[in-house]
């Protein structure tokens, strides 16, 4: 079990009555992630309209999506670095503003090239600044003992956004057209999210005279309460992180995470058709996966993450996901799909808050934006490659089973890799070394 005392403010006393202000910041960025991921995942809804209006092929639009995916991945360490340097508030605020303007640009595009430009470059780049990466340093400064819980709430925002904004965009398409739907989403970004971020978010608790977790400024004996401790591997530059084992352990496990999630996201329909699963069953199984995912992120965040070693949580998460893929191999359809939805779904997004929190605790908060961005970039690039490999594998074998076998083996390896991480020796939770800037 982690000792709260090792992270500053062990007594758990609060320096104020009522809800700690950090939770309002969590709520505000929850909504930002809700909108930015909801918009991002609505892309597929517009494809039929675009192919009809611009007379382009689905392959062309898939290429645009792929370029956008890569741009979004490459942008991650950039926005993370900017958040480390200038603070998450300005990075998130500017990003959501650019995202809103580029979405308007998409809505009023006069030809497909303009639309492709706005989506694949400006929208994809700025979207990275309105998602998890720049928020890791922000939340890591506001929360120490409850870091896992706070990061989990934000991650759940991504699930919530997809659950509400995709139907919202779909029915707007039915009521009006794709231009109106995009303009409305842009309006939400610029009129609701942007002011909320600037109004509520503050980069550091010290800017408001507060301490992380809402702890009192002084201890009972009158001494000043420490803010955030660095750990033994705290780095002054993000490149130094690659000289230590945990960075490679986190990178390799995240590669497996990217591979296994991206393949399902892209090949799900093809897999369902191959297995003879009907449309309604496939859609309901995916809905079940979504709910299992959101529930598990919150349960893991509030009841488990901050109470156990994070590497143990990751070990279990990757093992559970491996069992989900195993279900696709051993159970007949559609039972395998239902088991997969529940078992793998409960592990889907749970890796994100655990990995982000662990990164902050091992390498310190000063460069955590850049380091998280590097991890996310690798996650996304691995996912993109895996999508292609899974396609080739299917073409060659005529089945997804060989890829599921590889996935089970990789997830077993990732689980073992996470378990071997020596968290008690490298994390500020267990070995606080010196005071960091809060």
């Amino acid at each position: 079990m982690a000792s709260g005392g090792s992270t500053g403010g062990s007594q758990g006393t609060t320096g104020q009555r009522g809800i700690f202000y950090g939770w309002y910041i969590v709520a505000a960025v929850f909504f930002m992630v809700f909108v930015s991921i909801g918009f991002r995942q609505s892309y597929g809804l517009f494809l039929p309209s675009w192919t009809e209006e611009y007379e382009v092929s689905v392959s062309f639009l898939s290429t645009v999506a792929f370029v956008g995916w890569m741009v979004n991945g490459i942008a991650q360490p950039v926005v993370g670095g900017l958040a480390d340097r200038y603070g998450a508030r300005v990075v998130a605020g500017v990003s959501i503003a650019v995202l809103g303007v580029s979405t308007i640009g998409m809505a009023f595009s006069f030809n497909i090239w303009a639309l492709a430009f706005f989506y694949a470059t400006l929208a994809s780049f700025s979207n990275a600044g309105a998602m998890f990466t720049p928020l890791t340093p922000l939340i890591s400064r506001w929360f120490v003992r409850r870091r896992g819980a706070a990061l989990s709430v934000i991650t759940a925002g991504g699930s919530g956004g997809a659950m509400l904004l995709i139907p919202f965009a779909a029915y707007l398409l039915e009521l009006a057209n794709w231009r109106v739907a995009l303009a409305v989403i842009a309006g939400i970004m610029l009129v609701l999210v942007l002011p909320l971020v600037f109004l509520v978010v503050r980069d550091r608790p010290s800017a408001m005279g507060l301490r992380p977790d809402g702890d009192a400024a002084t201890n009972a004996d009158g001494s000043r309460r420490p803010q955030i401790y660095d750990g033994p591997l705290t780095v002054s530059h993000w490149r130094q992180a690659y000289h230590s084992a945990p960075m490679w352990q986190l990178t390799l496990t995240y590669v497996v995470c990217g591979v296994t999630t991206a393949v399902i996201a892209v090949h799900f329909v093809s897999f369902a058709k191959t297995e003879g699963i009907n449309e309604t069953t496939a859609a309901l199984a995916f809905a079940l996966l979504s709910f299992a995912n959101m529930a598990s992120v919150l349960i893991m965040g509030f009841f488990i993450s901050d109470r156990v070693q994070r590497k143990n949580a990751l070990t279990v998460i990757y093992a559970v996901r491996g069992l989900g893929f195993l279900a696709l191999l051993v159970f007949p359809s559609p039972m395998g799909l239902w088991v997969f939805a529940v078992v793998a779904g409960s592990s889907w997004l749970a890796t994100v808050p655990q990995t982000s929190a662990l990164t902050a605790e091992v390498y310190g908060v000063r460069n955590v934006g850049t380091i998280t961005g590097m991890l996310t970039m690798v996650h996304m690039c691995a996912g993109a490659v895996a999508v292609l490999v899974a396609g080739f594998s299917f073409d060659y074998f005529g089945s997804y089973d060989p890829f599921w076998v590889v996935s089970v083996l990789m997830l077993g390896g990732a689980s073992f890799m996470a378990w071997t991480l020596r968290e008690r020796e490298v994390s500020a939770r267990y070995r606080p070394m010196r005071l960091a800037e809060a």
Partner: protein
């Protein structure tokens, strides 16, 4: 109901279409009702957060 991509992987339009069809059959409501209901939620969330956060800050300063 959205595809559980981690970091903005492209979505599958056919799956989204399936999801919307399934949602249609479950809810049995017209698009106006659903859009209005979601719009109310989407507007209420940030307004509630902003009001509560500002009240919190006002309370601290007082």
């Amino acid at each position: 109901m959205g595809i559980r991509a981690h970091h903005s992987e492209p979505t599958d339009s056919e799956l989204l279409e399936w999801l919307v069809h399934t949602l249609d059959s479950i809810l049995g409501q017209g698009p106006v009702v659903i859009v209005t209901a979601i719009a109310v939620v989407v507007i209420a969330i940030p307004l509630a957060i902003a009001v509560l956060a500002l009240r919190r800050r006002g309370g601290r300063q007082a």
